[in-house]
Amino acid sequence: MQLYRAHVLVCGGTGCTSSNSNKIISELEAQIANSGIQNEVKVVRTGCFGLCAEGPIIVVYPEGSMYTMVKVEDVKEIVEEHLVKGRIVKRLLPGGNVKDENVSAESSDFFAKQHRIALRNCGVINPENIDEYIAFEGYKALGKVLTEMTPQDVVDVIKRSGLRGRGGGGFPTGIKWEFAMKQEADQKYVCCNADEGDPGAFMDRSVLEGDPHSVIEAMAIAGYAIGANQGYVYVRAEYPIAVKRLGIAIQQAKDYGLLGKNIFGTDFSFDLEIRLGAGAFVCGEETALMTSIEGHRGEPRPRPPFPAVKGLWQKPTILNNVETYANIPQIILNGAEWFASIGTEKSKGTKVFAVGGKINNTGLVEIPMGTTLREVIYDIGGGIPNGKKFKAAQTGGLPEDVFLQAILIRRLTMIH
């Protein structure tokens, strides 16, 4: 295996791609070749780092130096100064006048209060390379489930972890899986809701762009738990990069035998297909989404019967959100108790938030449940531009409340 003395990670999420990170990657490769260090330095296109306001973003390892708002013209200097001579380009560090250049990206205010589970690989690995996912414990949870656990064991772990649906409903995931597991049927389905529609929200998009294999692995685990051999990921067509990377990831998983027949040499088989939305907001609702996968107008249908009893094509179906799935492999590997130890009594684990509007660090953050809104806005978010006073914040989707001054101390949980 080729070893490199330095890795240059460039954000390839939608935000940084929009601000030209593709051109920066080709310029980096050209300049690195120019300096003759192409066998020593590797350029990796990753998913979203989260700090979209400062994009395009480059992180150089081993130092962990984060360069922000990089322009194509800056690339030459990064290559010649940092990669060739080992001198950090201070003017490109966040804020432009960082005193301690040895501070790495992870220890900055933006990252220090975060706890990344669903986003743990976003901005770390190349999402288009399954080997990088595997190197970060990828598909280990699926292997463990298939060789050491019964479906009931899997359901029990998810139940005990306290994981609740991250799409907004907050339904306990383990209980949903148990309903579907207990149904007798010749065919069952596992679906993933990637029709993220809340205004200003791009959590699911970033997971699919930055770590698509985590969702694939989790859906296979869910398939084993409930007894399904077919899954569908319903992605909105407005997310072209996410669709492309998920497609690549599914193909790679099939090539490695991690999807398909007799996975890990067991009796378990599982296949996965992508279905594209076509611009209908209502299709984020679970019954409408399934009607849309069936090829019809995406109109909701009444419940009961619930999808766990009669879902896709009238067969027992579970539907979970992208972020919910992204937590599953880590829960299997680290245990229910580990996950339940994070967060508050009734809201376990972490939650990803897309932070937007009049705040300095717009972007994507993952925090333990129970973090206060003040910490999100002032510590992680860097406060309000020009030192202006806080007036109001809106959390969740449109139907939720708009919060005023008094709620800065509110703890963000799943209990409303």
Partner: protein
Amino acid sequence: MSANGCCCCSGVDSRDQKLQEIIEKYKNTRGALVPVLHEAQEVYGYLPLEVQKKIAEGLNVPLAEVYGVVTFYTQFSLNPKGKYKIQVCMGTACYVKGSGAILEKLKEKLEIDVGGCTGDGKFSLEACRCIGACGLAPVITINDDVYGRLVPDDIEGILEKYKE
């Protein structure tokens, strides 16, 4: 998006051939209609009635059902699109950051309304749902290019790039 947006589509051409291949590929897939419509729109640029008829026949689905699905989803279009498809994000984050004024400027410069296509077939204009680049609001896309943090005065310069 294919570059054959606004031109007429009379006569048998390679596009009909492609459509048959698409139908063939999905024939035995459950819930094939939506993916077939997506790919057919890639080929033709839009979904005129003749194309819908062929899809209905090929998949053995009533034409009324095909038409019903096409008109339900906003991404499917009954009208031709321009060579350059401009989409203005009207999601909440973009809207509060002034995408309305961006849209007005585009309408004024192109002299077309939302859903319209310029006479030379070059540009078509649409208002779309959130594309998830809220950190860069307000955002427009022209085919696969994304432009963010816009003000109305940026529009003229952006359109210039596509005029040659």
